[in-house]
Symmetry: C2
Subunit: 118 residues, 2 copies
């Protein structure tokens, strides 16, 4: 069920690379990767779980409210993270030239569906 959502999202974005539903503990629930070169989505997810936890802790320390989204843009990959709950986030990796606005839109669209099934 989750995989279908992830696949739909990634396949609808030109330059979509991979999607993952993951716990902040670094354990992935589901993932989907297009057959393209690039870092392993599980590894990306684990690194994300670590850094997003740190960002969340910083947001708490600064008292700026709950963490909603994080976008990381590197030379060869862009990663969009949408926080679902205290325990889970969903992330989408796209190529730098891909439409990040559309990916974010689809991520936001899909988030409530995934959340309701978690």
């Amino acid at each position: 069920m989750f995989r279908e959502n992830l696949q739909k999202m990634i396949d609808r974005v030109d330059g979509g690379v991979a999607g993952i539903l993951m716990g902040f503990d670094g354990i992935s629930v589901e993932s989907y990767a297009r057959a393209t070169a690039g870092p392993d989505i599980q590894t990306v997810g684990m690194e994300l779980a670590h850094v997003i936890s740190q960002v969340r802790r910083a947001a708490q320390a600064l008292e700026v409210g709950g963490l909603r989204e994080v976008v990381v843009r590197a030379d060869n990959l862009v990663v969009l993270v949408h926080v679902l709950s205290n325990d889970y986030f969903v992330a989408c990796a796209i190529r730098p030239e891909a439409n990040a606005g559309k990916a974010r839109y689809l991520l936001r669209l899909m988030a409530p569906q995934i959340q309701s099934e978690l």
Copy 2:
């Protein structure tokens, strides 16, 4: 010189809160904050320096190229980070309802100017 750039950027965004030019070592070069409530920009900058360093390390580990931008969206504050070099980044804090696209545009516009003066 830096302060003028930061001020111009923040004042041009409705809902702009503060801007900071900072070293990854957590020492700020210059900052500008509008007279609004919110967390102290120096504290935000220090937290950012820490987490952005972690994100950069993750990007290196994943071999996805150099880190360019990070956006963090929390309930009460959105922070846009633009990496200038191995040593410095510039960040802009805006309210959640502010135009993040415009803020990002201004940040990108200003980055080369600041970089040339560093």
